[in-house]
Every structure is written in C-alpha cells, then in structure tokens.
Subunit: 193 residues, 2 copies
C-alpha cells in the first residue's frame, strides 16, 4: 500500500496518451472523457492538467502519434521498383492503415482538433503528406503539386467512406481486390506523361 502503483513510473503523461488511444479505438471518441482517462490511469480528476492544458491537447497528441504510424505504414508500402506499382501499393497501405485504425484515423482528421493550434500535429500531418508528395517530381512534371493533392484526396476520400461504412452496399471494403480495382485507373492517370 505504501509502495507507488506499478504503472506510470513518474510517466503519467505517457500513460494518459496510451489509455486515451485505447479508449478511442475501443469505444470511439465520443465515449472518451478526460475524467475517465484519469480514472483508468489511477489518478485524480485534476491530475491530467499537470501534463496537458486541455482535453484537446491530449487528443492532439494521440492524433500526432497516429500520423507517425501512418507515415511508417506508407514508407513500408512503397518499395516496389515499378513506380506505378509502388504508388498503388502505397495507396493500398494508406487504406489499410485507415481500415485497421478507423477511430484513430477519424480523430487525425477530426473537427474536434483545430490543427492550427497544435503545431506538432500539423507538422506530423505535413510529414505524412510529404511521403506522397515525394512521388511526384516538380522538376520534371509541371503538374506535380496538383497530382500529389489529387492522390491524397483520392486515398483520403476512399478511406473515409470505407471507415464510415458508406461503401458497404457498393464494394467489398476489407482492402481486397475491389478497392485495388477502384484505385488502379486513377493511380495510373496520376502517373501518366
């Protein structure tokens, strides 16, 4: 009883982020309360405020980590020597991450968080986009910027629709061949000329 509790060995901040991420992926963001997170971490209601200015700051940190994970997934997904195949694989990796972490992905693009108020989060998002951006070379392609944005919009849109079960009636959303068939002609167009 007199010994300190086993978790958060002086690292309550880390513990809060970890609990929050778990709650989000399990029960959804609307089910997450800062008080509940504190409860699960075994601390008082006010304790989180020693580490985060607000609930939003905690959510922003969870989202930031999400972008880092997505960034890694994209890196791993684009290794084919064939540029077209590589971008297609990378797009599928993007969709795979979103579908494997639907509520985290939603949070990363959620309205709850004003990105301009969280520079770390914004930077993580930019770094992730940069992976797609690197696929298009402005030196040899005058439309490189437009293509990169088109690519991001496409995969983000399909990911969002799939996550929200908006496609259930129209397509097999388990990341299987149907999704690839949807992407193929569009990714090809992005690589044309």
């Amino acid at each position: 009883m007199s010994t300190s509790k086993p978790f958060h060995h002086g690292d309550l901040r880390k513990e809060l982020v970890s609990v929050a991420r778990e709650v989000i992926e399990t029960d959804g963001i609307d089910a997450l309360s800062l008080r509940g997170v504190a409860r699960q971490a075994g601390v008082s209601t006010a304790a989180p405020y020693r580490h985060f200015d607000s609930k939003e700051k905690l959510l922003a940190e969870v989202a930031r980590q999400g972008f880092e994970d997505l960034h890694d997934a994209l890196d791993r997904g684009g290794q084919s020597p064939d540029p077209f195949q590589s971008l297609l694989d990378q797009s599928m990796a993007y969709l795979g991450f979103a579908m494997a972490n639907p509520r985290l992905y939603r949070l990363m693009f959620a309205s709850h968080i004003d990105k301009t108020k969280h520079p770390d989060l914004m930077e993580a998002g930019e770094r992730t986009f940069a992976v797609l951006q690197a696929r298009f070379d402005p030196a040899t392609d005058p439309h490189a910027a437009a293509r990169a944005i088109g690519c991001w919009g496409l995969v983000h849109g399909l990911a969002s629709l799939a996550i929200d079960n908006q496609l259930d009636a129209h397509v097999q959303t388990d990341g299987g061949p149907h999704m690839r068939a949807i992407l193929e002609p569009l990714v090809r167009a992005l690589m044309a000329h």
Copy 2:
C-alpha cells in the same frame, strides 16, 4: 402574455432543426448542446424529447437535410451537354457545396451519427450518391461501379481536406482554378474508354 409565442406555431420540431443547423454552421458541432437549442427555441430543457428520442436523432435530421441540399446542388451542377465537362462541373459543384457549408458537410459524414441507426439519413445519402452513379452506365461499362465509387472518393476526399484547411499550404481552396486543375486529369480518367 397569454398569447402563444410567435415562433414554432405548434411546429417546435421544425424550429429545433432550424436552430440546430444554424448553431452548427455558426459555432461548430462541438458547441451544440440540446439544452442550448431548447433555450434558443424558447422551450424547456425536456421539450425536445417530445420530438426527438435523443440529441443524435436531431443531428441525424439536420444531416439528412444536408444531403437533400447537396443532392440539389449536384443536379444543378451537371447540365453541360459534354459528358466530361458535365462530370467535372458536377464535381466542382460538390466541392462548392462542401466549402460553402463546411460544418454541415462534416456532420453529414460525422462519426457522431451511426447511419445504420437512422434509415432516413442513410437513404438520403444513397440518393445523393446515386446522382454520381448515374454518370456511369453498367450496361456499356463493366467498371461502372468502380468508377462511380472512385469519383465519390475523389470529390469527398478533396472536399474533406479543403474543409479541414489541410490544403491551405498547397493549393488555393476557394474553389477556383487550382481545384479544377487537380480534378481534371482524374475526372478524364474516370470517363476514359
């Protein structure tokens, strides 16, 4: 004092929806409380429950009306005789609606609402998608379904990114020529063969 209040002539339901939509577009969805809506409508805290089972039901009705408006915007946007031009115009109309009603558009695709629990909302969403779907004829094109979904994903993704100010650093998001330049090659690919 003995005469009834001027608004909601027995139509509190309509008044609640109208107030809710206003609050959402003005202050954002996180700022909307059912108690606040009741207050603005001049009724008691419990009154909305005579017309909606829950806050979520009210939000679902606002979202449903949003889909009807988007549906109309798409209808008006696709009148050109040239099929390619028509689909491009329609895509721009989609983006225009989202950017003119950002918080409403977010609500329409928000995680706050489980669409499977609100058949009216789901149906309105399907009817809107059907406008895009009608652009592709399964009788003459074996990939009609895939193209329609690709098109929806593309415009939805670009709309979402634009709304969340994710594109500010990379593109002019006022619906001007830049957005059109992004869409053009992809819409062309959707119409190919």
